[in-house]
């Protein structure tokens, strides 16, 4: 009777462990997929804004038959908000790449003991970095597109339209990456229940 009871208990425990491992491996697969997508989003946002540049020559005046032209260059380095955007997305893509590598080959020997608790904290920091960069660039882009009549700042997007379009595309990519990174952070916090020792 005791042997039968012990056997069923062990079989039940085995079954529970197998169910938990299969569901946890499904969560692992979803996490890897999400991290790949987030890596793609942040890398593309950083690259699109990094190579954002437009030069335009406009005719300012006509003297006789010769035209006086002025060249208008727009580069992302002119605006500190966009510089921060590129740096933030670069750091976030580096973090995503590192976490992807760690989820494949495990953490390095030195950090094996603190890895399960350090990864959600790093994911939280990643969320903060990407959200800061994306929102700063979004509000700066809104200022460039609409101007601010109270401060006598004219809008500039009508003169450098493809710079604004590419900047907008980079911001959209960064916001998609932000949503994915928030989901990744929530999943890695939920996954901590597996190691719960409270």
């Amino acid at each position: 009777m005791a042997l039968g009871g012990g056997e069923t208990l062990e079989a039940g425990g085995d079954r529970a462990a197998r169910v938990m491992s299969s569901s946890s491996s499904k969560v692992d697969l979803v996490m890897v997929l999400l991290r790949v997508l987030a890596l793609l989003a942040t890398v593309s946002a950083a690259l699109i804004m990094g190579f954002n540049k437009q030069t335009r020559t406009i005719v300012v005046a006509t003297i006789g038959t010769t035209t006086v032209q002025a060249t208008l260059t727009a580069k992302f380095q002119h605006t500190p908000a966009f510089v921060f955007f590129v740096i933030a997305n670069g750091i976030a893509s580096l973090h995503n790449l590192l976490m992807l590598v760690v989820s494949f080959i495990g953490p390095p020997k030195l950090f094996e003991r603190i890895a399960p608790s350090a990864i959600p904290v790093f994911d939280l920091m990643n969320v903060a970095i990407v959200s800061g960069g994306a929102s700063a660039a979004a509000f700066m882009g809104q200022l460039g597109r609409d101007g601010n009549s109270h401060a006598r700042w004219n809008k500039i997007c009508d003169k450098i339209d493809s710079f604004c379009d590419r900047g907008g595309g980079a911001m959209i990519a960064s916001f998609i990456g932000l949503v994915l990174i928030i989901i990744i952070c929530s999943l890695s916090i939920i996954r901590l229940r597996r190691y719960n020792t409270i």
């Binding site: 002119h78 904290v121 800061g132 200022l143 929530s186």
Partner: protein, 162 residues
């Protein structure tokens, strides 16, 4: 939950409440007017959607912190509180980042876009906005600490084994 364990997070939430309320109030009371060549130049926080967003986010965060001060830490809503903490910290972080970006343009201008700095004409508005930004930055930092502490309370971070 023993009283001594509740003290740190209570103090952190109190600090966050003070920071968010002061950021909201300082930004709302920022106002200056100047007379330049017979043109009245009035600066309020509603002139820029960024500052309106900042005031809104800090008001939401202060209301949320006030409600949460009266909640015990280890109740059954622990996971839900963590999610709401994450959302509020995210909103505070994005609002302070946008304000710093726009404030930098207001202080230094942008010569490439032909935007002149406005801090010379409305210095009191500039000082108020600077104070509000500092308070908002403290609020965002404290909320990040609250988040890590909330996570630690829910799932003991020091005793995890691989």
């Amino acid at each position: 939950m023993s009283f001594s364990k509740r003290i740190p997070i209570f103090l952190l939430r109190l600090l966050a409440l003070a920071a968010t309320i002061s950021a909201t109030l300082i930004m709302v009371t920022s106002r200056d007017s100047a007379q330049v060549f017979n043109v009245k130049f009035e600066a309020k926080y509603t002139n820029s959607p960024t500052f309106t967003y900042f005031v809104l986010m800090n008001a939401i965060a202060s209301g949320y912190t006030l409600i949460l001060l009266f909640f015990p830490t280890k109740c059954s809503f622990g996971h839900l509180i963590l999610i709401f903490d994450l959302i509020v910290a995210l909103l505070l972080d994005s609002s302070i980042s946008a304000c710093i970006a726009i404030g930098q343009v207001g202080k230094k201008g942008n010569s490439h876009a032909g935007w002149l700095p406005i801090c010379g004409q409305v210095p009191r508005f500039c000082d108020h906005v600077t104070g509000a930004i500092i308070a908002g930055f403290v609020a965002a930092l404290v909320y990040f600490l609250i988040l890590v502490y909330s996570l630690h309370n829910l799932i003991n971070l020091f005793s995890l084994k691989n």
